[in-house]
């Protein structure tokens, strides 16, 4: 199994979720992070002076999928999160040793 971590533009999260659902992905976990990268942060004004916020708010989603679903999921995420502008984000794939569903104790694929 694979753990897919993706940083996406917050307003794209909705689309990404739908795309993953489309693949039959049952669930996911989402947090907020401050992203640093090529995309420059928002300009803000304070006391008549403009300055740039260093980071960009991004949504960070984690989804565990079976190996065969990994590639389709990555592509689904890209398709849904893409705007073509700098700052669209990254998708990271990591191998998972094991997954367990707390409620039932099921392991591996059954836990998803």
């Amino acid at each position: 199994m694979k753990l897919i971590i993706a940083y996406v533009k917050p307003f794209k999260l909705e689309d990404v979720k739908l795309a993953l659902r489309g693949l039959g992905v049952s669930g996911m976990s989402v947090g907020e992070i401050r992203g640093f990268g090529r995309q420059s942060g928002q300009t803000e004004v304070y006391r008549g002076a403009e300055y740039q916020v260093e980071f960009v708010p991004k949504s960070r989603l984690e989804v565990v999928v079976d190996d065969d679903l990994a590639e389709p999921a990555v592509e689904a995420i890209q398709g849904a999160a893409r705007t073509g502008e700098i700052g669209d984000g990254k998708v990271i794939v990591v191998t998972v040793d094991d997954v367990l569903r707390i409620r039932t104790g099921e392991r591996g694929g059954d836990a998803l």
Partner: protein, 398 residues
């Protein structure tokens, strides 16, 4: 005083007391979340400190029988023989004595220790404020007697506090990162709420200073509303032109700048003159708050840019626009041929600035030399709330 006058001054006193919590929120919203409680605490505790000082001897030093035009005598020590109308006047004036040092807290935000604040405020409320109040408000105070006029505290409150703020900042030094990184307000809604409360309270501040529910009070009420509105308009327009963005902090700061500037003349100028004063204050104070970055002093929440500059603008323009038609208690300003009065206003500004700066500077040095003024680097980094008060302003998700 008729019951109607008493009713109005009681109301006004309550509104002016409410300004200090309002100021606490106005300032509290502008600091980082790790320092908001310290900011609130400094303001609330100032109410307690000054109330005690004022009752025991502050009032009599300001309004006791005059001695050489410089200070009041000790005849009202501990409020002796202060009853009825005098008692009402005492408490109305107490509210002014409270908010004046509270204003200073904005300049020293995020780095001055709480203990140091307590000591400084006590000394300042005891030694600086009563004198300036005597000069400007007491019939025999040398400025008032000379013909200078300060309707509700442009000199006594705002210039006095603004210049004191500057003096303390010189002793205290800037916050870590000042000038390098942008130190942003943590909650502008809190600041806007504070602005609303200040605006409300200011009607008591200015219209209450008529000490009666009469035509002068009405005029002061109207000019207050106009001054605040025009200054917000001026400030926002100026920044809109410069940065292309109108900001809520600009609107809030502009309104306060206008309230400050109209304070000395509220009962002495016409509504149309108030438009001029407000507009001038909005534009000039917007320009003034950028000075600190260029000159490099960390007047954190712009007490100098708003209260000192706004107070000077208002006091000087009063010298220009004062109208004896509006209020027989004032002589005509420059515009109506009263050049003498204009000069007196300018001199008064200089005198108060000089005295308050020196006195405040010395008091700050005394506190620094005795118990120390400034929080440690660690306290400043981790925040004054958790290190000095062991409290956290916001605890979510519990």
């Amino acid at each position: 005083m008729s019951a109607g006058d008493v009713a109005w001054v009681l109301t006004a006193s309550a509104l002016v007391l409410f300004m200090t919590p309002g100021l606490a929120l106005f300032y509290g919203g502008m600091v980082r979340s790790k320092n908001v409680l310290n900011m609130l605490m400094k303001n609330f505790f100032t109410i307690s400190i000054v109330t005690v000082v004022w009752v025991l001897f502050g009032y009599t030093l300001a309004f006791g029988t005059d001695a050489a035009g410089v200070v009041g005598g000790l005849d009202h020590l501990g409020l002796r023989d202060v009853e009825g109308e005098a008692l009402l006047f005492m408490v109305f004036q107490m509210m002014f004595a409270i908010i004046t040092p509270a204003l200073i807290s904005g300049a020293v935000a995020e780095r001055m220790r709480f203990g140091a604040w307590v000591l400084f405020t006590t000394l300042w409320a005891a030694l600086v404020y009563p004198l300036v109040a005597h000069w400007g408000f007491h019939p025999e105070g040398f400025l008032f007697a000379w013909g200078v006029r300060d309707f509700a505290g442009g000199l006594v409150v705002h210039i006095n506090a603004g210049v004191a703020a500057l003096a303390v900042v010189f002793v205290l030094g800037p916050r870590r990162g000042f000038g390098r990184e942008a130190i942003r307000p943590h909650s502008l809604p809190l600041t806007l709420l504070g602005t609303g409360i200040l605006w409300l309270g200011w009607f008591g501040f200015n219209a209450g200073s008529a000490l009666a529910a009469d035509g002068v009070a009405v005029n002061a009420f109207v000019t207050t509303q106009i001054g605040a509105s025009l200054a917000a308009l001026g400030w926002v327009t100026a920044e809109w032109r410069r940065t292309g963005k109108p900001t809520t902090l600009g609107a809030a700061s502009g309104a306060v700048a206008g309230l400050v500037a109209i304070t000395p003349g509220a009962g002495f100028v016409t509504p149309l003159a108030a438009m001029v004063i407000g507009l001038a204050a909005g534009v000039l104070c917007f320009w003034a708050v950028s000075l600190k970055f260029r000159l490099g002093y960390d007047d954190s929440l712009d007490v100098v840019g708003v209260h000192l500059v706004g107070g000077v603008v208002g006091s000087v323009l009063l010298g220009v626009l004062a109208s004896s038609e509006v209020n027989a208690g004032v002589t005509d300003g420059l515009l109506f041929g009263g050049s003498a009065f204009f000069l007196k206003q300018v001199v008064a500004v200089v005198v108060v600035m000089a005295f308050s700066f020196v006195a405040s500077y010395l008091l700050a040095r005394v506190v620094e030399a005795t118990i120390g003024l400034r929080a440690s680097e660690r306290e400043e980094i981790e925040g004054l709330d958790i290190t000095l008060h062991e409290e956290r302003a916001y605890v979510v998700g519990e």
